[in-house]
Amino acid sequence: MLTLRDLHLTVGNFALTADWQVNPGDRVALIGPSGAGKSTLLAAIAGFIPHASGEIQWNGQPLGPAGTRPVSILFQDQNLFPHLTIAQNLGLGLNPALRLSPAQHKAVEDALAQVGLAGFGPRKPAQLSGGQQGRAALARALLRARPLLLLDEPFAALGPALKSEMLDLVASVAGATGAALLMVTHDPADARHLCPQTVLVANGKAHAPVSTADLFANPPEALQAYLGESR
């Protein structure tokens, strides 16, 4: 269980507060205007930026440095090392020194097969399409099987059909690993598609998760301003 207790983040003039929790298996969208701090919140949970006060806990324990946290994160871009093969990129998720046992090599193969990339192991990322690169990054999250999966709009550059396909894959990865999902998005459709709960990030606050359907049925003022006419 992820707990954000009276959390305060400050980066320069920017400030954000959060005080809520996420249970195993929850799927939560983070929505709100650009610059509201959605990515900053994910970066804090993943351990890339320190928080000013409050606590980020996992099962009641404080978290260690980035990389040791029970977290897999997919960034907006640069999710794969371009100079390593897809298999090596996945292998790094199991062992940073890339010394893999035969069982782990097999696990890499299996993970690739599960995201529809069987046989792509020896290729470099540049030889894959954008959607295939996203699949490879998801395969690594599948391998790592961390209980918290953070998505910082990794599929924003994909077309609608491909994005929807990737979100389905995210759902199945999260389901297979039993991970809780926290997903930044600009698109209400993504939230409705995948996440029963949504966190509204606006005006310096990440509000506690509420039912996605209820939120969009009856949006508070800040969300109305963000959605505009498009609702």
């Binding site: 324990q61 260690g64 980035a66 897999s72 100079h83 998720g93 961390r146």
Partner: protein
Amino acid sequence: MRPLPNGRPPCRGDMTMGGPVITRLGAAAVAAGLAGFVLAPLAALSLRAEGFTPTPADWAAVRFTLLQAALSAAVSTLLAIPVARALARRRFVGRRALITLMGAPFLLPVIVATLGLIAVFGRSGLLNGGLSLIGLPPLSIYGLHGVVLAHVFLNLPLATRMILQGWQAIPAERFRLGQSLGFAPRDSFRHLEAPMLREVLPGAALIIFTLCLTSFAVALTLGGGPRATTVELAIYQALRFDYDLGRAATLAGLQFLLCAIAASAAWGLARPAAFGAGQDRATLPAAPGGWRKGMDAAVILAAALFLILPLGAVVLRGLPGLADLPASLWPATLRSLLVALVSATLSTAAALTLALAVAARPNRLFDAVAMLPLATSGLVLGTGLFLLAQPLVPPARLALPVTILVNTALSLPFLYRLLLPEARALHQGYDRLASSLSLHGLARLRWLTLPRLARPLGFGAGIAAALSMGDLGVIALFATDQGATLPLVVHRLMGAYRMEAAAAAALILVTLSFALFWACDQGGRHADPA
């Protein structure tokens, strides 16, 4: 789907020491070592120089140093303007080769350059041969004009590449706009090119001025005497010929002041773009025809001949001498290779350590320490180390270690400035991904840092190796007849007027220097997986 084995407990983070801490500790150790290596000799110098006041001869050396550096900088940059303009606005067969060739003098052992210049401009050289054919008296290459000539030969290409970059940075749209307004070449110069030159020339001139301040090998071979002695040469003479340690220390203190002032000025002014010039673009700036086309062709031909003739002369004179080389050459060659390889390795590793730490977290102290060697020179450090060593061991026994370490320190600022932007880009692009995967320490070095930085590392190591291979400076201070390196052997053969053997040894030296650079550079390119 099913969860897959990942060989580690899925939840609890193990609280190991993070990679950034190790990077910072390593960089702190490197910075402390480097600062100690530079500051301890300076302290020894200041203790020893106390009570000594500079003699009139010392002030003459200071004046000559400033004069030759100013003239060399002015002549190099002014002559580089037409060359860079011609290269910027013309396309011809061999243009890329010529621009590549312009990178060579930077790596050329200075002693080889002077040997080549003597072959062309010396008493029995090509030029005087031509002059005597038409009944004119011979010109001498020795003295102020010889020193400036050599410095122009070594630095004109550097200035050309820097100015060429400025030309190529003017957007093609500006030239198009000028054309649409009916600009004559004179108008283009006034409105487009002159502003660029005002921006680029001071930095280029200051870099060359700084490089020429510490000129030793050129002054040693083409200067000398009361009228043409640089401070660097005067230090050498005070120590080697007069064994006057106090005077050597005083001169080294003066040299340090000159270098520190010039280096800090250059640091503020200069752009760090001295290396990679020559990207072509699709549209050329307006290339006027008529007499200007002929002038550009003449300028390019003259510049190419000025570069190629001395190098060609070394090859032509050296080839026959290869059959008759002194036996002392081979141990000297091995020593030089050792110096080059060890100092290039040390310097590259140290610069990378500092650059990675500064890229991860800006650190003004590391930044300043990495630039510290620019405020010194080979003979300044050498004299200080000589003073430190001399009560304990015979300095000659330390000749090789000292040469290795001094060259390591002197090439470190170049490597640091080369690697820092690359390390920053690497950090911005991949630090979070690597951290999210716990990719730290040696694993990060092996799987991320070395592959991603292979190109600049290979290029930088190549530069360091070539510079150390060709360095004739501190070794001249320490070595006896036994422990010479290859550049010192060349110098001694020249001193004994065995010019053919000197040219042959120089040919071996220059071949090995360029081969080392080429091998490192190619190694880096080869290891670059992109």
